[in-house]
Symmetry: C2
């Protein structure tokens, strides 16, 4: 979980130092798996586990992980900024509005769609982002039972 974390590996691969705080934050993120988390969640985690890591360092580590593509920022329906650990390849997210669990989906032909939009609008499309919000299977069951 420590040396093997793909997040740590991504930092290493990008030529960044593998310091204690960065490893600790990468581990905390890895523990969350496919669930989204906010910067505030991480800060609270760090504090509750008494890791002795400063707030600014948490923000710096997140920025770094976003920069190397190991973490991606997503916007929740509430307007909050959240993050998810993910593979660096181009993809999109399906986000559960109830438990924040995400599933990554491939490009789904959006590249072609973006080119079509570029042709029709005259815009040069540099980036596209698709976010799907809904309920994961587990939460659908939970809601049905409630």
């Amino acid at each position: 979980m420590t040396a093997g974390s793909p997040l740590v590996a991504a930092l290493d691969h990008a030529g960044h130092r593998l310091t204690g705080p960065r490893r600790a934050i990468a581990d905390l993120i890895a523990e969350r798996g496919a669930s989204t988390f906010t910067a505030a969640d991480l800060v609270a985690d760090v504090r509750s586990r008494r890791l002795g890591i400063g707030r600014a360092t948490v923000f710096r580590a997140i920025d770094l992980l976003v920069a190397v593509g190991a973490v991606e920022r997503v916007d929740l329906r509430t307007g909050e900024h959240a993050y998810v650990a993910c593979v660096p390849a181009h993809h999109h997210h399906v986000i559960c509005s109830r438990c924040a669990r995400t599933v990554e989906i491939g490009d789904l032909g959006l590249g072609a769609l973006a080119r079509d939009v570029a042709r029709r609008t005259g815009y040069r499309i540099d980036e596209h982002r698709l976010e799907l919000h809904g309920l994961c299977p587990a939460c659908q069951r939970a809601v049905a039972l409630a």
Copy 2:
């Protein structure tokens, strides 16, 4: 520009009072046309024109316009929240990263795509959001000349 603004009409249609501050804010937004703006932009506008409208009122008016569907929130690449005046029908935005001008595009078959994702992931998709970022024709020319 005052009584005829579609923003004011949308408020009226939804049964909200058409007060002075609301009209003024709707006009300010209408003036921006298809450009995105942040709440801070509006607050600065209100202040510079000495309209005597409070900050809280600006936020309340934006919330109201978002609620009636006359304004939509978009997330800029910088992570900022911005807004655009738009038609209430389901659509997506192409946003210029340089001048913030937007173009609305239709659903583009994303509904079908969302259903496909739902089938594959087991998620119940309630909402989808596509944002395309790039350069509008004018900014492409400007960049080419610079």
